[in-house]
Symmetry: C2
Subunit: 248 residues, 2 copies
């Protein structure tokens, strides 16, 4: 069963190679989309090459809604996007993938059925297909080199869908199994180093020692250290001392 999250259907119009249908299914499911529609696939349906390529996303193919005509496929839709790179002599709003999926998220959340059409591999959508759309999506590619294939176009659109509906965190820091070191941890570390370095004659000449210690303490305070980092740095110093004591 498709998930019941509101989401657009992705409609593959007259797709040619089974591999590309399978790749499209994987691209969709990578970003949590699982409602595929297929119109007049060139090599019939089901397609074993599609199944082989889809691997973990094979469910999307099993559940795909197959239609003989685009009109049948879009019948229940309230709003339809057409993905196309070529400029058309059709008056129609052209959305970036981001703006399109933002609108799709608003519409699906309000209970509307939204579809996104993707054309066949070689030629893309025909003007007659695009004329059925409420709006166009164009990926902002390099004007000198626009060569996105079907799977890539599905991937980028699905990626933008997820960006619009998921709380994507811009930056996080993975602490592994540790925590950030607090002030006491860093203080103990600096004191440990300072004591040993004092013994080792690091703070020399004596009149410069106070300034050197401030610079030294500041260095460690500035670094984003975890508790695990602090433990390792303690270990470094202990080991240096052990090594020194062996040589005595």
């Amino acid at each position: 069963m498709p998930s019941d999250t509101p989401q657009p259907a992705f409609v593959l119009v007259r797709p040619q190679m089974g591999e590309n249908i399978g790749a499209a299914a994987r691209a969709m499911w990578n970003f949590g989309l699982d409602r595929m529609r297929i119109v007049a696939p060139r090599d019939g349906w089901p397609n074993q090459k599609a199944v082989a390529m889809a691997s973990g996303a094979g469910r999307l193919l099993d559940e795909a809604q197959l239609s003989a005509t685009l009109a049948d496929s879009l019948e229940d839709c309230d709003f339809v996007f057409a993905t196309t790179a070529r400029p058309r002599e059709l008056t129609k709003p052209v959305y970036s993938p981001e703006a399109a999926m933002k609108l799709a998220a608003e519409k699906t959340a309000a209970g509307q059925k939204v579809a996104v059409m993707f054309g066949p591999e070689r030629a893309g959508l025909e003007n007659e297909d695009v004329a059925r759309a409420n709006a166009i999506i164009t990926v902002p590619v390099n004007p000198e080199f626009a060569s996105l294939n079907l799977g890539q176009c599905v991937l980028l659109t699905a990626y933008e869908w997820r960006r619009q509906v998921e709380e994507v965190v811009d930056v996080t820091t993975d602490l592994g199994k540790s925590d950030w070191a607090n002030h006491a941890d860093v203080d103990a570390l600096v004191n440990h180093y300072e004591g040993r370095l004092e013994e080792a004659g690091f703070f020399f000449p004596p009149e410069k020692a106070p300034g050197m210690k401030v610079v030294f303490r500041n260095l460690f305070s500035r670094l984003p250290l975890t508790r695990a980092d602090v433990q390792m740095l303690h270990g470094v110093m202990r080991q240096m001392v052990r090594w020194k004591e062996k040589r005595d």
Copy 2:
């Protein structure tokens, strides 16, 4: 020659299949990136399968910087991202592709050399590779199904790069060869229809005619019509009249 626009280098670390190296080159050049580095490709270099797959982006392969080790490849870099899906026991900031490419755009604009590492097809980057990075990029995929391949990961990162550096227009409307109709155009159209519909007995009964005319005018005023649309609607009415006159 690579373009002289500030941009990050994309570093393919121990890539396996030539096809994927070629696909990565195409994905990059689709979004205007043309500085590829390759570290220890499994099947040697140059690679004919890579060339065949790259088609129009073959220049990136010719100009790619080949290195035997990752350390050599990253030697001149000021800031390095590692793309990886797996959580690591390494304390390191994790960026979304968007936030990462925003930071990359800032750094490259300030004259820094930025690199983005992509791991080999099966296993991805090793911990030893990731340990060389200043930060991690993780694509926010479906936790139930994360199966991005090398080319897809390059594609999404390159797409986000272009989003950060290009002025991407959210919505435009392609008018084809026409212009928006102005008030006078719509007024003339409504008057044309109103006159003919009056003759045809459309506004009936007479006491309701004024209200019906307001509703009728409002309909056309509300629509985003182009001059071409208006001409076509004039033609529709003229043709209906012609047809009626023939039958008389």
